[in-house]
Amino acid sequence: MGRTRLVFSGSGGQGVITAAIVLAEAAVLHEGLIAVQTQAYGAAARGSATRADVIISDSPINYPMVVQPNIVVCLTQESYNLYAPIIRPGGLLLTDPRYVHTERKVDAVQREVAMHAAVMEKIGATVVYNICMLGTLLGLNPLVRVESILSVLEARMPKRFLEMNREALLLGQSLVAS
């Protein structure tokens, strides 16, 4: 599979860091891949741009940070302004029109998917927005299997939230099913 570098960005509370951790755990624990997950810490992370990085690879990862991501997910205008320009040529840029008005073209596949609207309409709880985003991302680029994500969720979530997360994951995936 080579190496995929991802940046998930948004604002505190949207769950981008959790999404990154879930994806990295799925890759390592259930796909036998190597992954490193880092995130921006500090006062700047609270209420403003939050960023979580994941590198997924089939070979050892040394330098753990993402400089030029293959995949950028932006869930706020601010994070879009900050991180869309660093995308690797030929990469994938995923945004949500609820939060992001895309202003210019980057040399990457740009997908605007109304994930927030779908979550609110079908599930009615923003808490699973991040998992819906993961579903959409996997629909566009099957980095790991959906079952692997579900296994991680099973281990991390209280049982009563599991079904809602599963729904959100599949909903996200369905938004980009061709």
């Binding site: 951790i21 390592v28 997950q37 810490y41 040394n62 330098y63």
Partner: protein, 368 residues
Amino acid sequence: MEGALYAGLEFFAGYPITPSTEIAEHLSRRLPERGGKFIQMEDEIASMCAIIGASLTGHKVLTATSGPGFSLKQEALGYAIMAEIPCVIVNVQRGGPSTGIPTHIAQGDVNQARWGTHGDHAIIALTASNHQDVFAMTVEAFNMAETFRTPVILLFDEVVGHMRERLLLPEPGQIPLVDRLKTSVREGVDYHPYLPREDGRLPMADFGGVHRYNVTGLYHDMWGFPSDNPKVVHGLIRHLVDKIENHVEQITRYKSFYLDDARTVLVSYGAAARTALHVVEGQRKRGQKYGLLELQTLWPFPAEVVADTCAGAERVVVVEMNMGQVCREVQRVVNDPGKVFLANRIDGVLVTPTDIRQTLRLIAGQGV
């Protein structure tokens, strides 16, 4: 954390501080599950003192902190060195001095680990660049603390502390563990707590057990009572220093990457070594003879390994997140200090491959 549990950790006292908080958080749950004791103390000094006391009673102990807390622990650290009390102190480094930059990486406490507490002494400090090695070095730290009856410092950094990556837990018994050397002297028979055996080691008796003895930070005789007898003072300081400095080879841990024919040797440790290895592998793909010496033992400084590794190199580049604390040691031990350069970053951002490559180009006279 898992390494400490594997090594047989029984008591943790701490005062949570970023970026080491996760250690306390995790152990507050995991340690009591295994019958161990976790206590959040009122401050950093008390945490250090608590683990010293707990160790004396026969248990494997740990505390975790970062730069500001490590500063506060220095006096008690000296006490543990003087009274020869095994303990492990984790310092997940952040930017300093003072409260500095709590959530970002630095490796500025290397010399503090060496000379933070006053007076001549020797110390053991280990580090690691990835979670598998963090586990291994933590087990080593507990083993060395018991073997040499001394505090051992685990000098990690914010990036290694906060990142998530794979860790394969070894089976119990896969890594040998060193248990405490306890005295065989029976109750009612004179026990000399500070009389070294012929091999220099001192069997311990659990404090509060069958033997009554004195523990002090003052120079002391074989009974543990204060002494200003020049012979006693000289003998004790030689013992404290020699028991570590005479075993550098036994204590030295390092990793070699592509060093056999390397013309340019990078020397690095901790998270910075990950970037260094990234650069080395990139240069090798271009046919350039680069290699990396990753230090895992920082103190006692592995002078022989560094000197031998760098002997044949045209240039040596030390990659670290401070203003040259290990670089100076490397310059001190290599055959030609003029060939040693520093590639550092001191702004709270992990040194990038580009940073190192720019320094390499500058050294080669190619500009940036």
